[in-house]
């Protein structure tokens, strides 16, 4: 770790990130979100985390996959090239962990998702350890630590006043850090304590099995009846990655685009013939939570929730993970 004053750190980062797009948390109206700016910024003390995480800068809300053009009965196809070198700055550990999870999903065999991976490879992640919790976060309950680096190339630890510690966790990170003047030093960083600590019904390792045994639990219905079938939770969730594909036609030429989808939306799994394996909110809410806490762990060994707390804070009908765990745990309410 190197110690540095804030203004020096910004200058150094700006220099290292020359020629890249800077994606930084920006406050718009009352909401923080990741937006393109000309460089890194100093955060005011009220920055906890962004409402909308940096996910969209790696897996955009929509992006072309390919362009096509018909001429007579023949068609020509050009794959899309949609990446720019970028720095995503000020990412919190929960979102860093989420990016690590997305990386592993997108890289999974037999069909690695090259479009994501290419964009990811051209991205430098500058993380920022948490010194204050936001009102709904519960990362430690999910085994995520508020000072851990996860997918970050560089990690910033706010220390006293203007002083920051910076550490590198990748090749690029080390290259950048080498350009920062200053000595390696140790500094005590005291991370934030998350606002919520979930009463977990079982250990994280046993959670998938615990949930699978409750697949037919009436608790799902008691949780999901008030779900309005919007995609808010999935779109805000840093680990939700489901997408759909459709064609945008402009009269014989056009593009095939991939866009965010959400398993809570009513049409998500409805087949052309009308059959839907998940026809009501009960199955859909179950799918979403089970996917995070049971199915994905069974597949790739990791829980797909990093405790960022966004679904708790923003679901307009108060449907969230803690409620699910409690309802399934036998509390009848």
């Amino acid at each position: 770790m190197k110690l540095v004053r804030g203004s020096d750190m910004l200058r150094w980062l700006r220099r290292c990130g020359e020629g890249r797009r800077w994606v930084v948390p920006a406050k718009e109206d009352r909401h923080w979100l990741f937006a393109e700016r000309d460089g890194p910024v100093v955060f005011p003390p009220d920055y906890r985390n962004a409402t909308v995480g940096p996910k969209g800068w790696l897996l955009p809300r929509s992006e072309p996959i390919l362009y096509y053009r018909w001429t007579g009965g023949r068609v020509s196809v050009t794959p899309a090239q949609g990446w720019r070198p970028q720095v995503i700055y000020g990412v919190r550990p929960c979102d860093l962990k989420a990016i690590a999870l997305l990386d592993s999903i997108m890289a999974s065999e037999p069909w690695p998702e090259t479009q994501y991976l290419t964009r990811r490879a051209h991205t430098v992640l500058v993380g920022m350890a948490c010194t204050a919790a936001s009102s709904c976060c519960f990362c430690t309950s999910m085994g995520v630590h508020p000072a851990e680096s996860y997918a970050a190339d560089l990690m910033i630890y706010p220390l006293q006043g203007e002083e920051y510690g910076v550490a590198a966790f990748s090749e690029v990170g080390r290259e950048w850090l080498a350009q920062l003047e200053g000595e390696e030093a140790d500094a005590a960083f005291s991370p934030a304590v998350p606002a919520l600590s979930l009463p977990m019904p079982t250990s994280l390792e046993d959670l998938p099995g615990w949930l699978e045994r409750r697949f037919d639990d009436p608790g799902w219905q008691r949780l999901a009846w008030r779900c309005l079938s919007c995609g808010l939770c999935a779109y805000l969730c840093p680990t939700c990655y489901c997408y759909g594909i459709s064609d945008v036609d402009r009269g014989g030429a056009g593009r095939r685009v991939r866009w965010w989808d959400a398993c809570t939306l009513p049409d998500f799994s409805r087949m052309a013939g009308g059959h839907d394996p998940r026809p009501t909110t009960t199955e859909r809410v179950r799918q979403r939570i089970m996917h995070k806490l049971a199915y994905h762990p069974a597949r790739q060994g990791e829980i797909l929730c990093t405790g960022c707390g966004r679904c708790i804070e923003y679901c307009p009908m108060g449907i969230h993970l803690p409620a699910a765990l409690r309802l399934l745990g036998g509390d009848g309410r």
Binding site: E28, D29, R30, H31, L33, T51, V52, R61, S62, S135, C136, L196, L198, W225, R226, L228, S229, C230, G231, L232, A234, Y235, L236, G244, S246, V248, V257, W259, W260, A262, L265, D267, R310, I312, E313, Y314, P316, M317, G318, I319, H320, P322, A323, R326, D331, R333
Partner: protein
């Protein structure tokens, strides 16, 4: 005025005991999150104690009534002004059968932003009950005062329907429709109308970039109750899935137009939007135009007919 929770409970219990309804829809405390109240349904008179009525009952209920009563369930609804109008919107749209709902009107002094209170004054949640003192909510017995100016939910700041209208029964406590916090419901609309055109577009474009198109605004809206939203259809492709300025424009334009003359101004869309898109500024623009152009009085109160499904021979002709 107090938040007469025991009276609410008693009324709910009576409805269930008299078998006037099969269930009562209200709010309950979230055991995990002190500030959270979520929609809650009670089927037994003995369980009405689970219901809560205090300044944190943020979620609107109207849209839930729609799906709940679909199978013929008779539902008692604890309805504030906004909930009642929402339910009436759905009744006029023939999505709720009038005989399936019993509207139990609750005069509403405005709801607080729970998360905000939690962040700034967590001890407020130790209250056993609440009183309304006009400009403040006051916790009983702790006496903690929460200024509304600071904590009122956005949707409640602009509310015009604190008094529950067109209900089967209204909990007889004091209250009125007057909202001291809303001087001019069209203030933001007027401000935007006065901006030069390019700035107006920039204003909206900024929001288009933030809108995630998660459709929370649509899903909570009692006026958005179509069997199949045209925006979800692939054929015709009213709205492409691709997210860009043009498609966001079409999305918000279509949504505004489809609720024009039908929006009950419950503010739920605004509350649900995670990025704070000023949906109310679109909805109220439509309301204002309904008033200005077609002389629709109280454009937020659902009527049998809707302004865009009618015409008058002397409608203004502004196209020259």
């Amino acid at each position: 005025m107090s938040w007469a929770l025991p009276a609410v409970d008693a009324l709910a219990a009576r409805l269930l005991e008299d078998r006037l309804v099969d269930a009562v829809l209200g709010w309950a405390r979230d055991p995990d999150l002190p500030w959270q109240r979520y929609p809650h349904r009670v089927d037994e008179p003995s369980r009405v104690g689970e219901l809560v009525w205090d300044p944190f009952c943020a979620p609107g209920l109207a849209k839930l009534v729609f799906r709940m009563t679909e199978g013929g369930l008779k539902l008692g609804v604890l309805a504030r002004g906004c909930d009642a109008l929402g339910v009436w919107r759905l009744i006029h749209d023939r999505r709720i059968a009038r005989e399936n709902v019993y509207l139990l009107g609750l005069p509403c002094p405005g709801m607080a932003d729970g998360v905000r209170v939690w962040e700034e004054c967590p001890e407020a949640f130790d209250a056993a009950g609440w009183e309304d003192h006009g400009s403040h909510w006051v916790a009983v017995p702790t006496g903690i005062r929460l200024p509304k100016e600071r904590f009122l939910l956005d949707k409640c700041l602009q509310c015009q329907v604190r008094w529950p209208r067109q209900c089967d029964e209204v909990l007889a406590v004091q209250g009125g429709s007057w909202n001291p916090f809303c001087e001019d419901r069209y203030r933001q609309v007027r401000q935007l109308e006065e901006l030069p055109l390019p700035q107006r577009f920039d204003f909206w474009r900024g929001w288009f970039e933030r809108c995630l198109r998660c459709f929370a605004c649509r899903q909570v809206c009692p006026a958005c109750n179509c069997e199949s939203c045209s925006l979800d259809q692939f054929e015709p492709n009213w709205l492409e899935r691709e997210v860009g300025v043009a498609t966001q424009f079409i999305f918000h334009f279509t949504r505004a137009l489809h609720v024009a003359g039908r929006c009950v101004d419950c503010g739920e869309c605004q509350r649900a939007c995670p990025v704070g898109f000023p949906l109310g500024a679109l909805n109220r623009k439509m309301m204002k135009d309904m008033e200005d152009l077609f002389g629709v009085r109280e454009p937020f109160v659902p009527q049998e007919s809707e302004p865009l499904g009618e015409f008058a021979l002397d409608d203004p002709d502004e196209f020259r």
